[in-house]
Symmetry: D2
Subunit: 366 residues, 4 copies
């Protein structure tokens, strides 16, 4: 009989000691928040070169209400020391740097959840193509699990190294995978447009991300070959059983948080009239029910509702909807997520919960 965390009579779940390396960026900050309020994890160490010596509350005044935030200090990122302080380590570091920490931490027996791109790609040649440097630890790639709980739950459960998905990929894969899996849409001609809030660019002192440069500005960027395409296409190709190449157009828009994605795709069976549309409507509905009926963090909208980032920011939920367009014969998919939660730190905590045997929503409730 499975133990319930809700029952006060069952034995308490063992606490995991979790550390965060690189905790001063936006994803790191969100991880700090999620772990401070987590019922089963103990935030045992946070590191940041620039903030070393300061308490969490000094660096992030908003967390001062958590007692631990007033006592736990940022330290220098020393793998040996961290391995003795933590059972599981989150890496919230730039790509390239993350792998340097993963190697010694895994060797020391820690589980590692990496929020960078370092372990998302199975093929080091693709990594080199998209990230412009050799992979720093190709030997670890075979054991890395792409940490998307909705589709990799079992692999995550026993993984030692999780490559937590990117923000754009999450917003694109969750709508597409069920339809590709059920062979409802063609692998050719997929066009995904995404709009991201500015926190997606990270906490970097660059002119491009100043308030005045972003406010009242709408702009595409990173076209036509954004780095996230590499993991998007790897995962879609896995599902489709053939090579998938998509058009991906990201945009920067003036909100703090949130990604909204709109995807146009062609159905495998032509949609030329209302009857075709009705059939496809049923098939897509079934595909999503099949995939997400029991998922806590994917909300398939009904009726006239369309995803809106303001309904998901601050939560680990991705909203999803679709429309069949009989005029073009195509289907349009829509998603909205909080880029820092479901698109980064929340999804990483979801993986931690699975690894540790906690309820998957622990620490991630509204």
């Amino acid at each position: 009989m499975p133990q319930s965390v809700d029952s006060p009579l069952s034995a308490p779940l063992p606490k995991v000691r979790a550390a965060i390396i690189g905790a001063s960026g936006y994803s790191g900050e969100e991880l700090v928040r999620l772990l401070l309020r987590h019922p089963h994890a103990i935030l045992s160490a946070v590191t940041s070169r620039q903030s070393a010596g300061q308490t969490i509350a000094q660096v992030f005044p908003k967390f001062a209400s958590f007692p631990l935030a007033r006592t736990l200090r940022f330290s220098e990122p020393l793998p040996d020391k961290l391995a003795s302080e933590a059972d599981l380590v989150f890496l919230a570091l730039p790509h390239g740097v993350a792998a340097e920490f993963a190697v010694p931490l895994l060797a020391a027996g820690c589980k590692v959840i990496d929020l960078s791109a370092d372990f998302r790609l199975r093929d080091p040649a693709v990594y080199r193509e998209f990230y412009a440097h050799d992979h720093p630890a190709p030997g670890l790639l075979p054991q890395a699990v792409y940490g998307m709980p909705e589709f990799k739950r079992e692999a995550i459960r026993s993984a030692k190294l999780i490559a937590s998905p990117g923000c754009y990929p999450t917003s694109i894969l969750l709508p597409l995978i069920p339809l590709l899996r059920h062979r409802l849409i063609k692998v050719q001609g997929i066009v995904a447009n995404s709009m991201s809030g500015v926190s997606g660019a990270g906490r970097k002192a660059e002119l491009d991300y100043l308030f005045v440069e972003c406010n009242e500005s709408l702009r595409a960027y990173g076209v036509p070959k954004h780095r996230h395409l590499s993991e998007i296409e790897q995962e879609l190709s896995d599902v489709a059983g053939e090579k998938v190449i998509i058009q991906f157009i990201p945009h920067l828009v003036p909100v703090n948080r949130g990604i909204a994605t709109s995807i146009s795709a062609s159905p495998v069976r032509a949609v030329a009239n209302a009857a075709d549309a009705e059939r496809l409507q049923g098939e897509i509905t079934s595909a999503y029910i099949d995939a997400y009926r029991d998922e806590l963090f994917v909300r398939v909208l009904e009726g006239n509702a369309l995803p809106d980032t303001k309904n998901v920011t601050g939560t680990n939920v991705l909203e999803l909807a679709w429309r069949i367009d009989v005029r073009t014969g195509r289907v349009v998919l829509f998603s909205a997520e909080d880029n820092l939660i479901k698109g980064a730190s929340g999804q990483a905590v979801q993986s931690m919960n699975i690894i540790c045997g906690y309820p998957e929503s622990a620490g991630l409730e509204g």
Copy 2:
């Protein structure tokens, strides 16, 4: 020899008396601004049921520095009276209502520039399909000219009734028309995503457009059959010589002004390698040079630059760029405009300038 307005020795240009019906919305307000500062037009009347009796400066304090704004009062919209006060009338009214004013004003000899959708579609059946009511004045449709100066300049010059293009259509047609005209892209499979600032929704007291509902919100809407599709597809079909149907996905984003549009399309000749891409690059460059070399208000960007609404808001300029994607074999087009100026009132004033024989940029300079 044409007279130059710039020469102080030439005879002054005759002044046109221009009126605005429905001047209290956002497009109307922008028209008021453009006409107050226009060197050759005289703003002779402004109407608004709700503001009747008040001066322009009382309704729009920001214009109080213009002497005329402190004396000219909003009046009730009476066609007969307006016909005696104005040579040319701008209609900044909802669709359906605009036509009711166009009929008597044209009969009285006024020229009419309509910013609504009432005269943009040649086929009243299409109007009924997209606007859900019968066309109020189908007899006027044959004489209406779709007021896009870059492609209809000669027709505009002699027109009595201008149907000024919609904001989304302007942002989509200007990138696409040269490529379709030169048969560089296929008419099938065009996907256009647009993001619009909230002024595009008009000055309406509706909950959906409250600050709190729009700020920190990203959302698609009006899918899959937005009304503007009707004029977009009419104009594209004209250029292509065959029926064009596109996928159009509009989004509402938290800026006051601006539309950014990204369009994915398939080249007619396949792009499978760098040589193909180079050829297409040259062809597209030529098509845009051909179309826009002498256009004051279309700025084709070079190098790494991509359109950004913050570079065009407050101006009548549309920025345009493109990228060839050898991975997908498609081309991506980008545009940015101020939805209230190039997308509405500025383009309408551009038509007025052509009709009146003024320099096309009169009153529209930076």
Copy 3:
């Protein structure tokens, strides 16, 4: 020995059935959120004329992850029915209307926490002066308790009718009361400037609060006699033991949430040099330690930090700091709060927790 809610071995706390009348405004929405996640309260009814018949999740998609939100429907506000469904009722209604519901609910034995201004003023003549109509239920005023937990905890505990403080008053009273109580500042010459996010205006379909009208706009309003002055001055006068009249200047600024307040006041003992300043510094520190040392929701900042709404939005915390200005001989106080939480619904839930014997922070943690 008091029972701890944290111990799984203690008897569980009795659950309170709580209802919200007027749950479709911004304060109501925030109350819904706080009660959905509350560990001890059961949200038993929500009412809204315009949303009657819809589930919470239909009206507020963001709450769809809470199972109760998918089943509990908005009903018409019928006091008799509510009295049978709830032990405690929150009134999130306009002033004047709130009192109409308070009367029958109290008569039926419900406890009432009113978020409107109806029961904040002891003197119905002051109510009439500031709210421009006669008080609708003056007979209830004697039993109403001004629900500011930091200063009225004991009275709240046994109250049947709580008048929960306004958003501006909370941001002004919490900094001022300790200094007036310790007679450190003069009652004359207090100047308070506040900046409020747009949610403070409520969810009303009015042109003034459209995105385009508020974004990129900074403006004072409601001067010189804002309604909230009545309760501010009542409470300050109570503490000072003499009539206090202050200058209060509210401003509307383009954020969704948050009030930042800056208050200038004159010390009772002149500050003419560094020694005076040091003495006053000690006295103010003591006054705030005395008042807030054990308070969970008032955070007195140290060092160089100044309050910033972004550190408190989404929480029930008010941040507070001060500076002594030896040049002017005055002291400046600063506060920041979330206008919908500490300034409205969070503070109201804090009162509910006190009334019900729950830990005061139940449902209000980060």
Copy 4:
């Protein structure tokens, strides 16, 4: 008979060659815009170490419609070269650095309009107190004119060195000077609160001014001794004939542009009743009429209107209003301006126009 620039028959005004040193910041960018569209000035040189070699259009795409912006390139800031290229030089540089350029430029016969604080203070000791370093060119201070046209027009006309006022000082001095000059308010107890848009912090790659750090944030800063106090108090003291010390509390708020200021002051003659208020109302009205009746760029609001930055951004206008508060016996003054135009570059161009004998509004119209 004075020559009118409007008449095409009069002799044209001589053109001034104007240069901008430090043209890549926000004030510099605004100066570039104002000079590109100026009817009588020729922008002859722009300098910026980081942008040297690039055209104006490359650095500021939004100006690409101006032909000169596509040809004029940023150069290194070499005073000798600039002195040969320009008759008048604007310094848009940090304090301390500006003076280094002013010395050789003045020696070479250029007129200099400095937008930094270097020449605003007559007393180098005050400069050292507020700017924390010795004044770099105290010998030039006697000839510098504080460039506030409304009060120093005659001195500006013949000045060689203009110290153009700061953004906050402009918003505070224009409301206060007429009342102090007419001895209507006391010099003691003045409290000024200002809210500034983020462009006021300059185009600096600092974390504090990132979009995510400023959006949804309201915060006071720079208290209690902001640098701008030095020039505010110098100018107020000059007018009052005695030392004036004020309380000044600046705030950073999430808009691109605009400063809104609210000032509370005590009337010299007590206001205890409606008759007192009416008398004071008349006196203040007269004082403002006297000061601003003929001023193009100060708009004294009437009726219920209060200043709103959205009515002045993009213009050189400062809006002004006031309220008498019979409850507190005080008067409250309100102003709104564009911090980069009336608060910086527009006011500097106004000084240029005076110096050059152009109409004061040349290049500054709506």
